[in-house]
Symmetry: C2
Subunit: 266 residues, 2 copies
DNA sequence: CATACGATG
DNA sequence: CATCCTATG
């Protein structure tokens, strides 16, 4: 089972550039988790809404052109699901109108799976936005635990807008305390990992350096690989045991983020 | 003496495309009258503000990125001026904060010249805008008369946002009564011409058809030459006697308008 | 369709 | 630097 998560920075933009098509054709993922779709289904082309091979779910922000998330499932895969449900609501979530969660729940055999595509807030807009980012972290963490405690297999993929450790960021000193590398955010990652959740790619590559998923466009940081690893797959232990591999697709262009892929032996 | 008037639809855009440079190098006009510059001097490049061969005057709107006019004078020409003054104010003008007039007054020999670059209002935004467009017409007409009555040689060039007669528009029937071909606007042109002002190009080419200066971008009307002749040079009789020729430069790209050129034997 | 703007990242 | 938005023509 192949899963990819990608912050597309405008799904219409990556489609216009042909980059989304390239990814889908080359990888043919079973699940594609999307963040920052920046639009609504009504604004999207048939490729994004009536794909022959995928069921395409979106959760758009109320505010036009802002944030939003999505989740595609290969039809040949979803055909095997029982009782599949698409959700967008997580209890006690701030920013509930910003379309940050696209969540598919389904049964496969006797197991219930929860697959969540999440675009965590940036939090740099205002003091209020920063407080809501921290709330958002706790809200998601609590919900992940709840699903796991119910015996589900849980996968959370997306742009978490935080680099966990110094190894996950090109300029740790310069960014210490800044949005995206603030102690309070890093402490959340610590708590989540300490709580038994696995940062899949890092767990498989504990010592790998200079691997990032986001680069600042203003400074053309991608040219020099001055990046941040802020896009993750997090899974419960039981799911992690099934992981085959995970890789950042850093050759994929079209966005200021690159996709993260993982394969699962289900 | 070569004069060109051009509604550039954003002077930074025509510069970025290299089209303004092409026009200036190919034509080397003595005067270049500009409309819809859409910006301020502070936003402009050295090419637009510190040209080796031109003095470059601008009148920008208060509202950012909106309207505005300009006037370039070849330095070798302005060197012969006495008492040159750049003006932006015309008495009783509505829309006085929209930068619609860039006006150079100077003496050459014993004669005083007034050369005005004017971007007339479109008037289609609201009822209020329509009323102000008609006011603007009268304000300009009165001012032209005033200068002429003072014994000046007067040239007004710009986007007048009205097609005078059926011959001046590709689809007269469909646009009858619409903004830009409304009886009240056409009547203004009638009054101005009846008052001794010359529509220079039309006076030289009374029967020429299918010659236009503006084409709708939405419908890609330029491909089919479905256009409007709304950019003019108007001169007083005494100036008209000195006109050598006039032509619309319809091969000039970069804007939704093409430039109008005229040569004057001074 | 195209040039501007402003918000957001 | 790049995605959206809206206003304007």
């Amino acid at each position: 089972m192949k899963l990819i998560t990608w912050n597309v920075n405008g799904i219409r933009a990556v489609e216009r550039k042909g980059e989304l098509q390239k990814l889908v054709e080359a990888e043919q993922p079973d699940f594609l988790l999307l963040q920052e779709i920046k639009g609504t289904r009504e604004q999207f082309s048939k490729f994004l809404t009536e794909h022959a091979d995928y069921e395409q779910y979106y959760h758009s922000a109320e505010k036009k052109g802002y944030a939003g998330s999505g989740l595609w499932v290969r039809k040949s895969v979803s055909a095997k699901f029982k009782g599949a449900e698409f959700h967008t609501d997580v209890p006690h979530m701030p920013n509930a109108d910003e379309g940050r969660v696209a969540w598919l729940s389904f049964r496969l055999g006797r197991q219930t799976w929860d697959l969540m595509s999440i675009y965590f807030p940036n939090g740099g807009k205002s003091e209020q936005a920063w407080r809501e980012k921290l709330e958002f972290y706790d809200c998601i963490h609590a919900h992940m635990n709840l699903l796991r405690d119910a015996g589900h297999r849980v996968v959370v993929g997306g742009d978490m807008n935080v680099a966990h450790n110094e190894i996950d960021i090109a300029r740790p000193k310069e960014n210490d305390g800044k949005i995206g590398f603030h102690p309070d955010e890093r402490a959340w990652m610590d708590r989540v990992v300490g709580d038994g959740w696995r940062d899949v790619w890092r767990a498989l590559h504990p010592d790998a350096v200079e691997v990032y998923s986001y680069w600042d466009m203003v400074t053309r940081a991608r040219d020099r690989n001055v990046g941040w690893r802020i896009d993750y797959f997090l899974t419960c232990e039981k799911t992690f045991k099934r992981i085959v591999d995970a890789d950042y697709l850093d050759a994929q262009m079209g966005s200021d983020h690159c996709p993260l892929r993982m394969n699962l032996d289900v």
